[in-house]
Symmetry: C2
């Protein structure tokens, strides 16, 4: 869009580029994403595509931002529409696993792939991905805190600790499903999460 909010032709092309770029990057990485290959895939010229972003790094930044929007739309927003506290915590886990299993991105969770790729490469991309992950963990954390204040969860456990554990179990499913073709991975993850939450819930029978 332009500054005054108009939608122009270039925006559609740009979104088409980013959609394809996210798919490629989730499979082959943000570095493996090459401008020439992307242009060929979309049937446009390399220079025309390039001029939308100005540099490869700007393209990568745009792809990460676009992936954040997808993730927010697919996981965060649905969870925020549910009841705060324990139900929302359950929905965060469920929604994330579902997002990974449904292959919203063909290479599994975009941020798992990109995070592992850039976790040892200082720069803008790493900073962006780190911020995104921190935001996600903070959302877990705040939801745990809410559940504790509502008397639904044991207050002995640190919110950040439980956030870490839930994210760990979910992420591992993504990894095992992709690398090992392990069909049971998501079930294992759900089982692990259920066990942990029931151990901490004041009314365990209400954890689905």
């Amino acid at each position: 869009m332009t500054q005054d909010g108009r939608v122009v032709r270039g925006d559609q092309t740009r979104q088409r580029i980013l959609d394809r770029a996210m798919a490629i990057a989730s499979q082959d990485g943000l570095e493996g994403l090459s401008i020439g290959r992307l242009a060929t895939d979309l049937g446009v010229s390399k220079s025309g595509l390039f001029s939308h972003f100005g540099s490869k790094e700007e393209l990568q930044v745009a792809v990460v931002r676009a992936a954040e929007e997808v993730f927010t739309h697919e996981v965060v927003k649905p969870a925020l529409r549910t009841t705060p506290g324990l139900p929302r915590l359950v929905e965060l886990c469920r929604g994330w696993l579902d997002y990974s299993e449904r292959r919203v991105f063909p290479g599994g969770c975009f941020f798992y792939a990109a995070g592992a790729e850039f976790d040892a490469r200082p720069g803008r991309i790493r900073d962006l991905l780190a911020r995104a992950r921190r935001d996600w963990l903070r959302l877990y954390e705040q939801t745990v805190r809410d559940a504790q204040q509502l008397g639904q969860l044991d207050t002995d456990v640190e919110p950040a600790q439980l956030a870490f554990e839930l994210d760990a179990l979910a992420t591992a499913a993504n990894s095992a499903a992709l690398l090992l073709d392990d069909a049971l991975a998501y079930q294992r993850s759900r089982a692990g999460i259920r066990t942990r939450l029931r151990a901490l819930a004041t009314r365990p029978e209400e954890v689905p």
Copy 2:
């Protein structure tokens, strides 16, 4: 080594190449590992280096195999020297976290990085990495089974399920430490593992 077991000059060069290649690959990925860059780093010619492996994929295969040897030496063997059952299970977790935290590879766990890179790219490398991960999970699994047969762990939990959970908690520490510079990540992981094992141990006070 040659077929008859002699150690020749080329082997030292080859090992020097692989050592540097593992370090690079753990940070920049097996694809980001380029022959030209590797040769420049080591002060040798590109063609000389290349002739040791014959192709890039063969180099990548050799790097993965070399990393397996390092991992076996650093984590698996020490654990196999401890008492079978629960003590060994604890040592597998401790040893892995220590291996990640000590930065045996500068980019953290080699197999975490490479696994995430190739989990959506069919081919030899993916197959190799998948086999390595399966072996690792099976070692966890067998150790859990031993502990159960020795009456140290609750027999209600499936060995593969617990293996999945322990690996998940450990891997998440590697990820958080690298991407988020989270100094607490390893402690969180250890705490999570301890909690889970104590919940399943017949004598919880013996879980360190």
